[in-house]
């Protein structure tokens, strides 16, 4: 069985493109979901590619992260698609997809997941500025890759999102095939390692040379990256917890919210097709608003802002993978992901659960034991 292979190309981008094209060709993949350059503009979006020639525009190494691809992959796998699929995802997209699979919103059986080491991503605004500073999107990606994986303190310079700086799972552990980039030099090619039996079967069929053992530089780079992120995460958690430890504080944190619900739309694990907040339940009778206003002396409109965010925490925080798309989607720059990942960290810890890592671990709200949590019962 082939555990890992080496892809030797002049640069990572062409290496990964030829690797993906080989996988598509040799494994009989009908379509591949992969971040790809748009034909009309220097922008990157997930694209379902069926023509291998289109993989020449694929760019899974770019720091663009316009949407969490888990939601798109769930669209493709919730029912049999009538073809063999592959998907190239970031580690947080794989974790979000795993959560969706556990919630019966998608299936892993018919899709080969290629995961790539992730040094972090830029917000949509930052990415547009970054891309526009370069002649081509390939040049932008090359410039990014030159420093991003070295393990040095590039996080500040490249303005990674807060969610990425606080991310403690930068490697695609849940992928079928993991592409390893941390600690390697772009001129030395890249390594693809099988993580599952499906991944082994795919790699075995590619007819590519085996890889060397894991480089010591990789371990060093990963340790450094994780140390830095743990430190940032700790500080970020402390500052958010301090700012929101009262209802007044939380209200101030969310003061710029206009109830657009973009955070919910962008959230990969908010999967309800009809969210209660967009139903008639919240189309209150006019007299209700008047009553609230009379009781409080005045009521902010739109109403129910705090209610929306607290309910969302109750509904999805145990599945939060900390991808940061809520912050990315907020039109008013509220650091939602910092707040939600803090709450998610604590709710997941309370149930001994980690979102997205272990497919066999049931989501906390999908089960119960007869004897548990006796401490919450009683007056």
């Amino acid at each position: 069985m082939t555990q890992a292979i080496h892809i030797d190309n002049e640069d990572w981008l062409s290496g990964i493109r030829s690797f993906l094209a080989t996988v598509m060709d040799k494994t009989g993949i009908d379509a591949m979901l992969v971040p790809t350059r748009l034909a009309v503009k220097n922008r990157i979006m997930p694209m379902l590619v069926s023509d291998p020639a289109r993989l020449a525009q694929a760019d899974p190494l770019s720091p663009a992260f316009p949407v969490n691809g888990a939601k798109q992959l769930a669209r493709l796998t919730r029912l049999p698609a009538g073809g063999k699929l592959a998907a190239v995802l970031r580690p947080c997209e794989i974790r979000a997809f795993n959560e969706l699979v556990k919630l019966n919103q998608g299936k892993r059986d018919d899709v080969v997941i290629v995961g790539i080491d992730c040094p972090g991503a830029l917000s949509n605004t930052d990415f547009r500025a970054f891309a526009d500073r370069h002649e081509t999107i390939d040049a932008a990606t090359q410039a990014f890759c030159a420093t991003a994986f070295s393990g040095g303190p590039v996080d500040e310079a490249a303005a990674f999102t807060s969610a990425c700086r606080a991310c403690n799972h930068p490697t695609p552990d849940g992928a079928d095939i993991a592409v390893e980039l941390f600690g390697t030099d772009p001129t030395h090619g890249l390594t693809a390692r099988a993580r599952t039996e499906m991944g082994e079967a795919v790699l075995a069929g590619l007819d590519l040379p085996p890889a060397e053992a894991v480089l010591p530089q990789r371990k060093t780079a990963l340790t450094e990256t994780l140390d830095r992120r743990r430190q940032y995460r700790k500080q970020m958690f402390a500052s958010v917890a301090g700012a929101t430890d009262t209802i007044r504080g939380l209200s101030a944190y969310l003061a710029d919210c206009v109830n657009c619900y973009n955070c919910r739309a962008a959230c990969p694990v908010c999967y309800c097709t009809t969210c209660v907040f967009t139903t008639d339940t919240f189309r209150h009778e006019p007299f209700q608003y008047l009553q609230w206003a009379r009781r409080k002396g005045g009521v902010k409109m739109p109403t129910d802002t705090l209610f929306f965010h607290l309910t969302r925490m109750a509904h999805m925080s145990t599945a939060c993978v900390g991808c940061g798309q809520c912050t990315n989607a907020c039109p008013n720059d509220i650091p939602l992901s910092d707040l939600f990942s803090l709450v998610g960290h604590h709710t997941q810890e309370a149930f001994g659960y980690v979102a997205g890592l272990d497919l066999s671990q049931r989501p906390p709200m999908c089960g119960f034991e007869k004897e548990e949590y006796g401490e919450v019962v009683g007056i």
Partner: protein
């Protein structure tokens, strides 16, 4: 503060705690008027959002009360409620809502006397905690 009367919203299940409340009433047992009962078919249908809404609307305490473990009319709704209460007790205190303001109890259909006793106890304890949001205006 001396004349603070807490408002407590109680979600009680149709089969056990509501029946116990009914029994308390027909037995002419008094319990404080601070409790506002909301009858639900099962504690397993109490979405966390109901509890959150109650607090944001100014409830000083929220009670969820259903059948004893093993007695649920729908087999296991009360076990699900227990997990949701555990979840809420993890979230709400982070934002300054005291964990003791949210209670979960099991009161069986024949426990009329216990029902009245527990309600008295609950009101006394919630009174000690003081008003939940003295300034409701700040909630947005």
């Amino acid at each position: 503060m001396d004349n603070f009367e807490p408002a407590i919203i109680a979600f009680v299940c149709n089969w056990c705690t509501y029946t116990a409340a009914d029994l308390a009433g027909t037995s002419r047992l008094a319990y404080p008027r601070n409790i506002r009962l909301i009858r639900v078919m099962c504690t397993g249908m109490v979405d966390p959002q109901y509890v959150i809404k109650a607090f944001l609307e100014g409830a000083d305490g929220v009670l969820i009360s259903g059948c004893h473990p093993g007695d649920c009319h729908y087999i296991n709704g009360n076990y699900k409620a227990r997990r949701r209460v555990k979840l809420l007790k993890e979230i709400l205190p982070r934002f300054g809502i005291d964990s003791r303001r949210l209670r979960l109890t099991w009161i069986g259909a024949s426990d009329g006397i216990q029902f009245a006793g527990i309600m008295n106890d609950l009101v006394a304890r919630t009174r000690e905690l003081g008003p939940m949001l003295p300034d409701l205006q700040m909630v947005i």
